[in-house]
Symmetry: C2
Subunit: 341 residues, 2 copies
């Protein structure tokens, strides 16, 4: 049996095609009882809109925007590559993706970029932005204008977006804590934590989770004062080198980016003892660290996956499907030396 069409729905609902159309695309001006008749008929016939025909007819496809932090960070570069890839793969389905950028950690620049997004010509935007009032206001405005908003990688307040696509960062921190405690053969001593910026919501949440586990399960480990490295490799290298000398930490947890500095410092350290080191994101620097035994474990949020998922959900949202929040969660992967191919 072929699939049901609006004709079938009209016939079983005993109304005209025009009325079915009015109901399905809620153009209004339909009596309540007719609406019900149509909905019943939809249920009875098992009608599902043929998205191909719909898109073909409407003419326009999917117009998406990705708004990313500017800059050369390995993570962002990877993200861009993945978006380009995804864009190619979806071109045959009329998906058009526009990549834009705003200054990292700069709400003013972010707001400016958001203002550039024209609700008339974009169906959905995936953004990596700061969770601050001005930005939230702008997001809310866009949503009101009909642009669906996806917060990517770093979440914002729930009211300011339609869905969050990314990992659960508190869980990430807890995993880091657990592995830290267990990979240190004798878990007693100071642990160094380097964040990018504690104003970034993802970093703050990782720290929170990490703290929880250390306090509960590994009382022997003490947290040195958390330092902010602002994802700057040189600064981090210096910082790590000095801490290694002064405090002899048994563990290092690098929450943010700039891990080339971390690896460099560890490589130069001339002590026989090497702290258990955990970092985030699979990049050239962290993979090199893993390979050479300088980093023990990397917690990765596969950007390819996040992008694929984001595009998928954007399509579904543009198709007016209901998207449950859980569908945005992407699992974290753990990478160790052995996972490198």
């Amino acid at each position: 049996m072929a699939r049901a069409t609006i004709h079938d729905v009209a016939r079983t609902a005993q109304v005209s095609l025009a009325t079915v159309d009015r109901v399905l695309n809620n153009r209004g001006g339909v009596a309540a009882k007719s609406v019900k008749k149509v909905h019943d008929a939809v249920a009875r016939t098992g009608y599902v809109k043929d998205q191909f025909a719909a898109n073909l007819s409407r003419g326009n496809g999917y117009r998406f925007v990705f708004l990313l932090p500017a800059g050369q960070s390995a993570f962002v570069r990877k993200l861009i590559a993945e978006i380009a890839r995804e864009s190619d793969l979806n071109r045959k389905d009329r998906v058009h993706i526009d990549i834009r950028s705003s200054k990292t950690f700069d709400p003013v620049s972010q707001v400016a970029s958001l203002r550039q997004i024209d609700p008339e010509t974009t169906d959905c935007a995936a953004v990596i932005v700061s969770d601050v009032p001005q930005v939230r206001a702008e997001l809310t405005r866009l949503r009101a204008a009909g642009v669906r908003i996806v917060s990517l990688v770093a979440d914002v307040q729930a009211e300011a977006r339609d869905i969050y696509v990314g990992p659960n960062n508190e869980v990430a921190g807890r995993m880091a804590g657990q592995f830290m405690g267990r990979l240190i053969r004798e878990p007693v001593g100071p642990v160094l934590v380097i964040a990018g910026s504690l104003a970034a919501r993802d970093h703050a949440q990782r720290l929170l989770g990490f703290r929880q586990v250390l306090q509960n399960d590994f009382a022997g480990l003490t947290l040195l004062p958390v330092v902010e490295g602002f994802d700057d490799a040189a600064r981090i290298a210096d910082l790590v080198a000095r801490t290694l000398d002064a405090m002899s930490p048994v563990g290092i947890y690098a929450i943010g980016a700039g891990n080339a500095g971390l690896v460099a410092a560890l490589r130069r350290a001339n002590s026989a003892f090497r702290p258990v080191t955990i970092a985030h994101e699979s990049t050239d620097a962290t993979r090199e660290g893993l390979r050479d035994g300088l980093i023990d474990l990397v917690i990765d949020q596969d950007p390819g996956r996040a992008v694929t998922r984001a595009v998928r959900l954007m399509r579904d949202m543009a198709d007016k499907q209901i998207v449950p929040p859980a569908r945005g969660e992407i699992p974290l992967s753990i990478i160790i030396k052995e996972s490198l191919s």
Copy 2:
């Protein structure tokens, strides 16, 4: 600028629409120089087929078959649920998925099921089957008849399928080995390995990887003779209980399913000492084990992800896109107590 259509291609190629169509859908009967003209025009205009229009016109959408092992294993149940979910999500895009099953580990039954697949009415099949000659022959026959074949979760010989979607199982085993060595505070003593069946290609590969790492990096750990549990919980429970008493292993690596038995045996064990335990797949049993501290770490191949990926690739293949083999690889995730939400 709107996207190019075949009309644009025809115009810039200076040929008729009919010729463009003949070339693009290679119906033959076109002079070599016209073919070239068309291809050039495609390149020049940046023409990409509008899959919506194509599907609408052709009438039929995507007809896929999943062939799974029968039985009540938690993994298969989850797989089925994920396929159903994916099927729902894709219905609007005219994807129709048929789920069938064959007796587990039974090539004869598998061949029979494969024979049931009608090349006329199916575009692509994703199968979990044994990698044996009869099955391979049947797969090859199907491929020749125009059915694209995806080997799911467990691979088969490359010639017998179009692409493998699943994790790299040797890497999985290596990861297990590395964590085994590092999570045991003092890595000296015997390690118990339980496989489902060493005839299953995925299990054999995991064992291979595990062995490699233990031999190279953790010489203090010795492998007890590998036992086959045939994914049977009762048998495994008995086996584990007896080994715990007799050999006091410092580690247990459960390669296959039936982990309810493993957890039960560990729970009943009344020794103060508990071996470091690593298992595969996130199921009720393994999650319970993690939560209660009986299992230390689970290596998971997210079935949802495998299914999503499989469907995506099946669509791309049905659309006659070139699909690079690497796109089938799905990463492994590591689950510990802390990852449970």
